[in-house]
Symmetry: C2
Subunit: 319 residues, 2 copies
C-alpha cells in the first residue's frame, strides 16, 4: 500500500468550525468540530489553531493546512481583508497561521472552497465552468471559470446571491444594501415567510393546519410537508424554485456554465425546488447555453467547504 | 524608424462590415466599409474576402487577419457555430478564410473583440477584470476576467444584456425567450418607448412638443433634448440609467470587476445616463466592490470591434 498524502482542511464558518484530515483521494480520516468562544480575534484564531493541533495529533504526517474563512480574502497575500461574520478584518492570516503551526498554510474564502470541492470531486466533476449557489440563511455564491476558482479583482467575487433579479423588489438582508437580490427572494428565511402566507391563504392545507396548531413554520417543515404531498407547501417551493430559476437564467446567459450546483439547507427540497428552476431556465435562457447547462444538487453538503480547503492544501494553492 | 507590425482587423457586424489596417500601436492606417449584399453564406463570405483584399492592397505587409463576427464562436477550432445575424451557422470560418486569404486568421465573437480593445487600449486600460455593456438596438456584453477574454464553456458567454433584472418584467426582444432581461429594460428601443410615454405625460416639455409636431421619437433625439436641458428627456435617461445601474449592481456583486465599460449608441447621453447608473451601484452594491469599480463610457465607439479583431491578430490569438 502506497502511503497517501494527507492534509488538514478547516472550514471556519460564521457560526462554527469543521475540520478534517483528508487524503489525496478526498477520504476524510478524522473530523474536528468547534464552536466559537468569545468574539475577539485572538480567541477565534486560537480556536482555529487548537482545531488544527487536534487534527494533527490524529495525523502527524499532515503536510499542509487549508482554511476556508468567511472573509474577503486577498488570495495572493493570504490576507483576510474583511469579514462580516468573524473578527478577521485586515489579518495577515496565512503568515500568522504559518508561524503558529509551522506548516504550509493556504487560505481562501469559504464559498470558493465549496465550489472547488464540488467542481473537483462533487456534483460538477469534469466541468471547467461551474457556478454554485448555496441557499441557506443567505445565498452564497462561488464560481469556477476556465477550470480555476474565480475570485474577482479584489477577492470579493462571486456574490451570486446578490445578483439583482427584481430591480424594484424587497430590501435585501443584513449587510447588503441592495433591493431585489436573489437572496431577498429565495433564501431560507423567504421560504419560511412565503410559507406563512400560503398557510394563511390555505388554512385547510397541511401547512395551514401546522400554522394553526402553533408550529413554527420553517424551511425544513415546508420541505417535509411538500415531500408528503401537501399542495400548499409544494406551491411555496415552486414559487421559490421559479425565482431561483430567474437568477440561474441570468447566470447561464452571462457566464455559459456547464453546471450550476445548488447547495445549502434549502436544497433538501430536491427536485421540488430544482424542477421549477430548471423549467424557467429551459423556457427563458438563451440557446445554446440553456440546452448545455445542468442544474444539480450539491454532493458534499456541509462538508464542501472543509473538503475544498483541503484541496487547496493538496494542490499547494494552485487551485 | 522601426517598421511596425501591421495586421487587418474586420468587424463583420449584423448590418455592415468595418475593416482596418492596424499597427501594433493600434493606429489605423486604412479603413474599409461594406454593406452586406444578398443573404446567403457564400455572398457574406465573399464580401469579407473582398474587404480583406482591399485592405491588403493598401498594406501588402499585413501579417495576419482578425475577424469579429456576430456568432457563437468555437474559439479553439475557429468555427462559427451559430449566428442570429448572419448566415454563419456551422462554418469552419478560420480554416476557410485561411485558405481563401493565405494568411494567418483569427476569429472571435464581435463583442469579445470590443471588450478586448477597450481593456487593452481603451476605457479600461490597466484593468484585468472588465465587463462591457453595449447599449444599442440590443444590449451586448463582453468580459475580460483575470486578464483574458471570457468566452464561457461553449463560446456563448457573456450575454450580459440577458441577465434577468425584473423576473416578472416585459418579454425580451427578437430571439431571446426571456422576460425582464436588462435588454428588455434599457436598450435603445426602450429609451424611445419610454420617451413617447413621457412625451404624452408631459405635453409641454420639449419632448412632448416634439411628439406633437410629428417628429419621430428616437434615442438620439432624447439625448439631444436632454443635453439641451429638457426635464422630461432627462427623466427618461434617469429611468434608463437607474435600470442600467441595477444590472451593473448584479455584475459588480457577481464578478467584482475593476471597470464596467458602457458603449453603444445610447451612451451618447454620457453622464445623463451614467450618473444615475453610478448612483444605484453606489447605493445598492456590496462593499468593497462598489467602492472599487469604475463605470465609464467606451473609448472606441463603433471601432472597438475592428480594433479588437486586429488585436487578436497582433497577439496571434493569445488574447
Amino acid at each position: 500500500m502506497v502511503a497517501r498524502k494527507r492534509v488538514i482542511g478547516i472550514d471556519a464558518g460564521g457560526t462554527k468550525l469543521l475540520g478534517g484530515v483528508v487524503d489525496d483521494e478526498l477520504v476524510v480520516h478524522h473530523r474536528v468540530h468547534r464552536l466559537w468562544r468569545g468574539a475577539d480575534r485572538a480567541e477565534v484564531l486560537e480556536v482555529m489553531v487548537e482545531a488544527v493541533e487536534e487534527a494533527r495529533a490524529a495525523a502527524p504526517d499532515a503536510a499542509a493546512v487549508g482554511f476556508g474563512i468567511p472573509s474577503l480574502v486577498d488570495w495572493e497575500r493570504g490576507v483576510s481583508v474583511m469579514s462580516v461574520h468573524l473578527p478577521l478584518d485586515d489579518v495577515s492570516f496565512r503568515d500568522l497561521m504559518r508561524e503558529r503551526l509551522d506548516l504550509p498554510v493556504y487560505v481562501d474564502n469559504d464559498a470558493n472552497c465549496a465550489v472547488l470541492a464540488e467542481q473537483r470531486h462533487g456534483a460538477a466533476v469534469g466541468a471547467s465552468h461551474v457556478a454554485m449557489l448555496t441557499l441557506g440563511t443567505g445565498i452564497g455564491g462561488g464560481l469556477v471559470l476556465d477550470g480555476r476558482v474565480y475570485r474577482g479583482s479584489s477577492g470579493a467575487g462571486a456574490e451570486l446571491g446578490h445578483m439583482v433579479v427584481d430591480l424594484d423588489g424587497p430590501e435585501c438582508q443584513d449587510d447588503c444594501p441592495g433591493r431585489g437580490c436573489l437572496e431577498a427572494l429565495a433564501s431560507g428565511p423567504v421560504v419560511a415567510r412565503e410559507a406563512v402566507e400560503a398557510a394563511r391563504r390555505e388554512p385547510r392545507s397541511a401547512l395551514g393546519r401546522a400554522l394553526a396548531s402553533g408550529r413554527e413554520i420553517t424551511g425544513p417543515l415546508v420541505t417535509e410537508l411538500a415531500h408528503d404531498g401537501d399542495e400548499a407547501a409544494r406551491g411555496v417551493l415552486e414559487l421559490i424554485g421559479r425565482r431561483l430559476g430567474a437568477g440561474i437564467t441570468g447566470i447561464v446567459n452571462a457566464l455559459n456554465p456547464e453546471v450550476v450546483v445548488v447547495g445549502g439547507g434549502v436544497v433538501a427540497a430536491g427536485d421540488l425546488l430544482l424542477d421549477p428552476a430548471r423549467g424557467v431556465v429551459a423556457e427563458r435562457a438563451l440557446r445554446p447555453s440553456r440546452d448545455q447547462v445542468r442544474i444539480v444538487p450539491a454532493r458534499f453538503g456541509d462538508e464542501a467547504g472543509m473538503l475544498g480547503a483541503a484541496l487547496l492544501a493538496l494542490s499547494e494553492g494552485t487551485a
